[in-house]
Symmetry: C3
């Protein structure tokens, strides 16, 4: 246990951070239109023409792999009359992106290739009407986009954590199972819930035999990335309903890491939880001030998944139950902080990571320590 | 009949009182956060630890009976991270009030008794984190709360009516039946509907043989409490589908009161209708400017209810039908006054109590006669 | 083909015209409370006392035929306490209009004839409390109302088109079939969709064998009324699933018009599409900035409808399919133009009528060319 951890007497965020329309608007400007946002896994669109949609801040984006293997992101808006080009949440463009209204046709890199009946329209040039592109990048198999055209390059933002997951081969893992949860709670409450195990004994009785809050420590204690390991109990090989592995031990892990599960939050849209044999991920989508969608995936190596008899059920069931327990208390927490009678309360020393989360959040919001009660 | 009653040429309230967001906000400040609000019956929580929740102006409150028999009201918000402490609309706390998130535990008087893992947190003292309490009082078996910490004492507000219901033994009556209605109408329209019988012949044909608008008079004609008696027809002992009693005549009633039914409104949340053998109550909950919840109860003495063969159905059916007829015209009235073409119309002399209601309402809103057309 | 048609390099309307609350409010003031609004067919209320309701801008109106055969329009608001007088979307008043709350009774011309218990109310006079009337007119069997008491007379507004439909005997046609559609798109997008056939080849494959965009021309190219004819293919007598007539050729049509279908939009609520044997109409009801109700009717002469064996199914099926295809792309278009990335795009020369629509719309909104990108 990391004895140096301390909440330093800090208190929880003021109520306005969970309810005020102004804060919501500021978060759009300073976080969700400014930061790198995780939108999914590149392995979901393996072939040229494969695509999926992502909704962000009321906008629809098309993520599509082009003929050169790159993953591109375009606004889902035809340059003619603005029609939405694609409706289904995922799909495949056979011969490029064709508008269903008047047939304007773009290639997979977004260039307008043909527009029926536009010949002779004065001043019209195909080259002026490419799809609006949005910066995108693939890191460790995750697709990130950034709505700010002048954004800081991804590598600068994620420098401190860029190679953190190499030993788990995260880049090559694929999803064996996915569950989508809709939670009636502010997205920060979901982050705060993941960032502490103070609640574990009361909320997750099944977790106590597996690992203990006393074994938790942090290797990231400041900034956009927070978290650290917990140590598995002696009789557990991984976290699953019976404690036995569901896949293979990742071959490059140190002997120490073979007895650990790590819990990291990557501000503002991703949790990564490497286990000895799989990686659990939670992708966070703020839907509104009051609701959050979480897409949870259980990632394994492709060859493990394809192996006869592979069954991730024991890992899935354990975490699906745990997730639902968490969302329930998140919703109670969210309801409570909407009250006018709510006042910032004191953090325990088991909640030092939440203090760090709040500090980083307030800094990004341009308020430094102002929003944190003392 | 009270021949002195007159509408004095007054007109109905202006449309803004039924639709404008500003009025809604003013009502919160000047009425619903300022006045004593009826939230239920104390007999619903007879034992220490019994509780029910009440929602008021978006806030959740816990009403709980403590070990000394008092009914307390607390904000449903943990002092740690603000989590809602109780979810179910009613229930029982076995050993005090424990937060489901991190286990902070309060006694039934609201004092924080234990907080896990808070030892060593600098400046932390259990005594600083009692639940937020709200003034509450029990009168005639009704529980009232007041969101204004500097509120006028209940006894001062209700002085004129404090002992009005002694002869019916109201304090000891319990609910034999309860129906909850959700009405798409402003709460004032529900009050106005109850305050006149001008509509009875058209809307309630079943009421004419039982009692007549001509027999109505008022003993409260001004202020927060309004109403008076109507005289039962010769062949009716009480109001029920066949006119026969459902319980026993209340023993302390005068011979006059044994042939009367009274209809009182207690601004802004309660109607009390004493009958010769039972008391009908309507508790009014404003949900929004456009919707009102009404909880209607048929109260009888405990020993009558427990008697073999007791059956309140004939009283319930009569008033349930009457209620539904009323809500229907309330909803039509509400829709109409939303119209821009609506203008205050003239009250008849059978609506003098509505004129008094409007006058009191406008006075509470700080507008005196300004909102009343003339 | 009308070779003179040209988009003149114009671009589509800016995004704010499809989403901003200010534009929505301006449209109420400058269009929907100012212009003549089509609310239905007079043939739906043939007898004195027949009525239907119309909802417009949150207000409810009663359209009723009186004893002299006139169609009157009244606000659905009792002059006593503002109660809505009629609930059902259509119906029949047997003995005048009686308020269901307190029985105030009006005749079919809106005069208050009796008000129970109002005798002796000081200053009360029946004549002061007629129903609020709204200007209304019947033209070619369509009922129009105007919420502006100082409105320009209908005949002045519709002068250019007053006798346009005489040859189809539109005044005497009645509805053989009606379908109501609710579309999640701005009303202007529905107009723009109807005003061009550039989308026909992609969206309506069943239309190509029947008529072709190349045959389209316009006889109204400017102002509130827009559109013109398309020529039927040689093997088609009308537009129906098999190209054969569903009714009789209108006897007064020129030989030219027997091979044509006309498509006209009447700003801001009506499309009229005369065919050789029937007239298709679309009545447009703006529900909100984001949704539009369209009531589509297939009108035939009364004697044709009553004839044994008459069956409009082939005309209904053709246009019902076509309508649904249109609403689908309208909804995609609406979603796209909500995007911040949407910019006005270039119109093709096949969309010259849309340029005219936009120009007229902007003029009515008092913005002339300002809102049109160039």
């Amino acid at each position: 246990m990391d004895r140096s951890r301390s909440a330093m007497g800090a208190k929880t965020l003021r109520g306005e951070y969970f309810s005020s329309p102004e804060v919501h608007e500021q978060e759009i400007q300073k976080i969700f239109r400014k930061k790198w946002i995780c939108v999914g896994r590149a392995s979901d669109i393996p072939r040229a023409g494969d695509c999926f949609l992502h909704e962000l801040e009321g906008e629809s984006f098309i993520l599509v792999r082009d003929d050169r293997g790159r993953v591109n992101c375009f606004c889902n808006v035809c340059r003619h009359r603005g029609t939405r080009l694609h409706e289904e949440s995922c799909g495949h463009f056979k011969t490029g992106i064709e508008c269903p209204y008047h047939g304007w046709a773009y290639d997979l890199a977004g260039s307008l290739k043909s527009a029926p009946n536009m010949t002779g329209v004065e001043g019209f040039d195909l080259q002026d009407y490419s799809l609006h592109a949005v910066p995108s990048v693939v890191w460790q198999g995750f697709v990130f986009i950034n709505l700010d055209r002048d954004c800081t390059p991804f590598e600068s933002c994620y420098g401190s954590i860029l190679s953190r997951f190499d030993n788990w081969g995260l880049e090559d893992l694929v999803s064996a199972h996915r569950v989508t949860y809709d939670i009636e709670a502010n997205w920060k409450i979901v982050f705060q819930n993941y960032n502490e195990c103070y609640h574990c004994s009361l909320v997750h009785p099944q977790l106590s035999p597996v690992t203990s809050v006393e074994t938790a420590s942090n290797d990231f204690t400041e900034g956009a990335f927070l978290g650290g390991p917990m140590i598995l109990s002696d009789n557990c090989e991984t976290i699953s309903t019976d404690g036995a592995l569901c896949g293979d031990l990742f071959p490059r892990l140190s002997s120490e890491d073979r007895k650990r599960v790590y819990f990291y939050t990557l501000f503002p849209t991703l949790f990564i939880s490497p286990h000895p044999d799989y990686v659990l991920t939670h992708r966070i989508e703020r839907q509104s001030s009051d609701s959050t969608r979480v897409v949870c995936e259980w990632l394994f190596p492709q060859d493990v998944i394809e192996r006869r008899g592979f069954d991730p059920t024991r890992a899935v069931q354990f975490w699906d139950l745990t997730n639902r327990q968490d969302w329930h208390v998140c919703e109670l927490n969210h309801k409570g902080v909407q009250s006018e009678s709510y006042q910032p309360g004191p953090y325990s020393n088991l909640e030092s990571t939440l203090v760090a989360f709040d500090r980083h959040y307030l800094k990004v919001m341009g308020e430094d320590e102002g929003g944190q009660a003392d």
